[in-house]
């Protein structure tokens, strides 16, 4: 039976690479972000809808940019019945399955939001997690234009709700039709060249990381990275690659200038013109939203790495720097992104269902907000601890009485004497300790220690008044225990907010 372990070869007590445990403070921070984002989504008319973590592998497909692994970046497995399953790698592919499954009864537009973990079987790397949280909003059944403008505006509203000011982020915006138009004009149009065009998109998506030379290599024959790994290129000629790079670098000072430049570059292909028109519509509509059109910047280098985008694409970038691990200022880059995926539902057969959405990287954003000092989870203090002094039934009654007054409390159920229990109280950040030893029981009293005041006195940060008026240790009648603890907690909480 596999539950038995050979004591000579015990299993290793360690997490898989790219996984992590989260303590209460980190969970509380994530939870507060998820709730804040959800409120904004809900305010914009999106309603919650959750899909499971596991889908049939073919229903998810593999649309991730990292296709240098055989797995396509997706965790796949076979269940006991032999069915091929996969863990969701994003929230979009499962939504497409959901919509295709109910195609004839959907209320359109379908506007949903969701939050939860996704999993990616990626290569190792510091700070690269293989389980991370996304918080998505999507609109299905709305053509390009208004719904995409609304996505950008919603994203801006989300970031403002998280206390980022308008000068701390920008929404970078483009449309895949532009690059598609350039590719068409360069002789790379037609359905038979779809894979080559996707390779071009993915090369361009790496601009920030690899620079112009790296992307030029990826557009042509391929690129060998410093570790020696070779990534095959898109197979473009030198003039073709140069034209792509000219397009990518055509972002101007303002969106109007960029639009004019781009109109020339995309030439007269229908696809390119459609992209230009969509972007004009989006920019015009953004003006009516609180964020205004200035929150968005037209940037032809934005393509996003996911395979399924078909039109407008956008990402939210934090514009401030924070000190990196080496002390040098560093940028966080993109914390959210999205775009239009008109063909994703059609994968399952039937008609196109136009769709657009945005995905927010919750953990990344939490790290950015924490590093920038914009938000974090205040470390909550621990429960009140009733020490174990030989009469557990009495101690449990004392803890229960405190709880009935709404005070988090526990009786010590571990092993060890007073010294060890006080050390536990300290490490659990217990604000108060209740002692009901033999003497106290005989006299009908309890001893109550105010550990936070005690710690301030020890650190000599208590005020003279505090030191004079409140002793860090009191003996009170047992009947006064709960009221005394309540008073101390209220005073300490006042002290916290006054600091």
């Amino acid at each position: 039976m596999p539950s038995r372990t050979d004591p000579e070869f015990p299993p290793l007590a360690s997490l898989p690479r790219g996984m992590r445990d989260l303590d209460g403070a980190a969970m509380a921070h994530r939870q507060s972000l998820v709730e804040a984002v959800g409120r904004v989504y809900q305010l914009h008319g999106f309603t919650p809808l959750e899909t499971p973590a596991i889908e049939r592998a073919e229903a998810l497909g593999a649309h991730l940019p990292d296709d240098d692994r055989e797995t396509g970046g997706v965790f796949t497995f076979t269940d006991g019945d032999g069915d091929a399953l996969a863990l969701r790698y994003d929230m979009t592919a499962p939504l497409a399955r959901y919509a295709a499954e109910r195609r004839n009864t959907l209320v359109l537009p379908l506007r949903r939001y969701t939050a939860g973990p996704v999993w990616r079987d990626e290569k190792a790397g510091p700070g690269r997690f293989r389980e991370f949280w996304q918080c998505d909003a999507d609109t299905l059944g709305a053509p390009a234009g208004a719904a995409d403008a609304e996505m950008c505006a919603t994203l801006a509203a989300v970031l403002e709700a998280l206390n980022l000011s308008r000068d701390q982020f920008e929404i970078r915006l483009s449309d895949r039709c532009l690059l598609d138009g350039v590719l068409e004009a360069t002789g790379l149009g037609g359905p038979e060249r779809a894979d080559q065009r996707l390779a071009v998109f993915r090369a361009v998506d790496k601009l920030e990381r690899l620079g112009t030379d790296g992307v030029r290599d990826l557009l042509q024959e391929g690129r060998r990275d410093p570790s020696g790994d070779f990534t095959p290129g898109a197979g473009l000629s030198e003039p073709q690659a140069a034209r792509i790079l000219a397009f990518v670098g055509a972002g101007g000072a303002d969106s109007a200038t960029t639009l004019r430049t781009l109109r020339d570059i995309v030439g007269d292909t229908q696809t390119g013109q459609r992209g230009i028109e969509t972007l004009e519509t989006i920019l015009a509509l953004l003006d009516g939203f609180p964020c205004g059109a200035a929150a968005a910047r037209l940037d032809p280098s934005v393509v996003r790495g996911l395979a399924y985008y078909t039109g407008p694409v956008f990402e939210a970038v934090l514009t401030f720097t924070v000190p990196g691990p080496d002390g040098k200022p560093r940028q966080f880059g993109s914390v959210a992104g999205g775009g239009r995926y008109d063909d994703l539902v059609r994968r399952f057969g039937g008609e196109t269902l136009p769709a657009t959405g945005v995905s927010l990287g919750v953990d990344r954003l939490a790290a950015a907000l924490e590093a920038a000092g914009i938000s974090s989870s205040a470390e909550a203090h621990g429960p009140v601890l009733v020490l174990a002094m030989g009469d557990m039934a009495a101690h449990q009654r004392a803890a229960a009485e405190l709880r009935s007054a709404g005070i988090a409390a526990e009786a010590f159920v571990g092993t060890g004497g007073m010294r060890r229990q006080m050390r536990y109280a300290d490490r659990r950040t217990c604000p108060v300790v209740v002692i009901e030893g033999e003497n106290e029981r005989a006299e009908g009293t309890v001893v109550i220690k105010n550990l936070r005041l005690g710690s301030r006195i020890a650190r000599q940060t208590a005020t003279h008044e505090e030191w004079k008026e409140h002793r860090a240790q009191l003996e009170v009648p047992r009947a006064a225990m709960t009221a005394t603890v309540q008073r101390i907690l209220a005073e300490e909480s006042d002290g916290d907010s006054a600091q």
Copy 2:
């Protein structure tokens, strides 16, 4: 590239067996349960700690009762680096890994709670989900007795916090040492018979489902179920099986009577006596908790199916019935369970770390509370809808203005005329629709439709006053739009709470 799909063979748009999509109302219900349970855990001095969904397969082991599948009930897979991974099937095995990983720096007792999905690769069955939520509390580093009593009391407090009254549930309690003692006395002691004893535990665990005859077969040669599947038995002789069944059926009217009977049955084995003493301690301590000792009932048939339990085991059972799908009253059975698992951390090498915990089946409990009419998620209404009447920028501005007053609102971004949009508003349960057509724009007004009043009038459930005083459709100056919508929503919300 796998993202391309052969249009001749599109993927099937369906979920894997045992998975489901959750809409907003079901999510809200689950969320409210998880929060309520978390508050009670926190009040009892447990702090949040989350482990990831994926662990190294060997770190999890396989402790599930359903070992009739090759997978042992666990979803396992290999990642791109060839590492053997698994999805957590409970919250306990990952916690043991966490504790073993930090063995030398743990603050003991470690008291944590957590909530989230777990996954099991189980056989098909109606209403059997392979992804479901658990909400667990655990204490590591506390010996048998007080910590187990506290677990039972915490479980009772949780159920009361969910509005179950004390006569709607009971905590069934036993100790695996009892059955171990009986097995020892029956000649089935010793480490070399550990697997056989586990087979006995699992046979007994099926008592409610299979009845005495089924368990007798499983204790001896094995059992063929109606489908023809054969489950091998524990290989006991007839007298041995009879003695086990006598033990299992020894539950009396009250715990004191049961204890006396059991003391005779377990004989003079040390193991059995230890079980008796632990149960006496737990029952005595429970008296000091708000639930009292009467909330728990000693029941020797309780063993729990998981392999890792080593001492006290308990489960919460709902005692009321609800109408089943066939109209007949049915019981929900166990909605939570737990026990002591002193050897689970030792799997990783080193010393024993005594531990106990409880696991609450959130989805099962949600279904039970819903069926019993005790709690459910009130269907929230949809957002205010601004109809698309030809000037999207104006419509988006109107929606943004409503949102800035805290009103969930959206401009219609789909396709279709007035009729289709009103149908959408109806199906989204929008309370109010705002119309700003060409005429209204020319006159500086908007039309505001109160759909809920309109629906009451249509259903003839509006009062005469409502019908007289409030028209279901108003034309107001554009500047009065937000105030008017606010007034209608406030009135309708008053109406809701008055109903």
